[in-house]
Symmetry: C2
Subunit: 162 residues, 2 copies
DNA sequence: GCAAGCCGATTGAGAGTTCAACTAGTAGGC
DNA sequence: GCCTACTAGTTGAACTCTCAATCGGCTTGC
């Protein structure tokens, strides 16, 4: 039963702290957005990606790829966002299977309203608490871990950190 | 509208990489446990905490505190674990309101079966990909962030990292 | 030009989480 | 003793996510 390489005590400590932080931070961000802007964090991210896209529009699969989200999840999410009037779905002219998600003006306004509070929370919870060296290290560590899980998921613009 | 202190471009990059890693890693760990041991990561953690407790038993609220989980979530989770025969609920002798979750032998066995694969995944995804310096840095960074969100949630045994 | 297979997207069921009641038991003040 | 306030834990509804199945549209080979 024991060809398993267990973690050292020090590594275990780091892991427990890391995992606890992971959970707490995720919950913290989610709660802030839900409370102040009535949207879960994942939906906020969808709006962000859409707002940065040309014409504020993206094919569903592109959106899923950029967000690292499954098609199914995105489909459910966009359905919800559409019901709220923040996103619209249009047919893709070149491929009749495809559909295109477009950020509405209301969606953009909701995003603009949510962004300051969100950025504030991020700064207070993370960047204000770390030294510049730690921030750099965090970027490199994140990129290294991400790379190991799925190289395709690494975002452009992060390569210089490796 | 703009007394918001936005993030620098470099910080934004770090944030995006970090958040993506956060999501991908969580999903990765969850998927492995679900696939190999048919339990979500959060349930695994509950079993771990219980197994380390004296008598493999804990009051619900203590368990919730140690896991950084809400009472409601834990209640649902333990109900599920009880239905699977991995945990039992007993009355608390000193406080009739309370209930005590006890890890059953079957639960311990399930945990023992799940642990090697889980530890392997953790090592491959995280520790094997980082230098010793990065591991140390990750511990310190995690502790710093955790501290800012809720000081009470910091686990014992992590203090020396700060 | 058409069959077989592939791809984009959606759907429905099942599982986990959250939030807001709600129940039942404890503790403090008088 | 008893009234109020507080605490432990549970419950149900609403919501999000996952997984597997599905459906229609593309595309390749012949």
């Amino acid at each position: 039963m024991d060809d398993t390489r267990w973690l050292s005590a020090a590594d275990q400590d780091v892991w427990r702290t890391f995992v606890t932080m992971l959970g707490a931070l995720g919950e913290h961000m989610d709660r802030q957005l839900q409370r102040d802007s009535s949207m879960p964090y994942t939906y906020y991210e969808i709006l962000v990606v859409l707002s940065a896209a040309p014409g504020r529009a993206l094919r569903m699969s592109e959106l899923a790829g950029l967000r690292g989200s499954s098609r199914s999840r995105l489909s459910h999410a966009v359905a919800r966002l559409e019901a709220q009037g923040w996103v619209e779905r249009r047919e893709c002219p070149t491929d009749k299977r495809g559909s295109i998600a477009v950020l509405t003006d209301a969606g953009f306004a909701a995003l603009a309203a949510a962004a300051p509070g969100h950025v504030n929370t991020v700064r207070e919870a993370v960047f204000d608490r770390l030294t510049p060296e730690q921030v750099t290290a965090l970027g490199a560590i994140s990129a290294a871990i991400l790379d190991g899980i799925d190289p395709d998921k690494t975002l452009p613009g992060c390569r210089e950190l490796r």
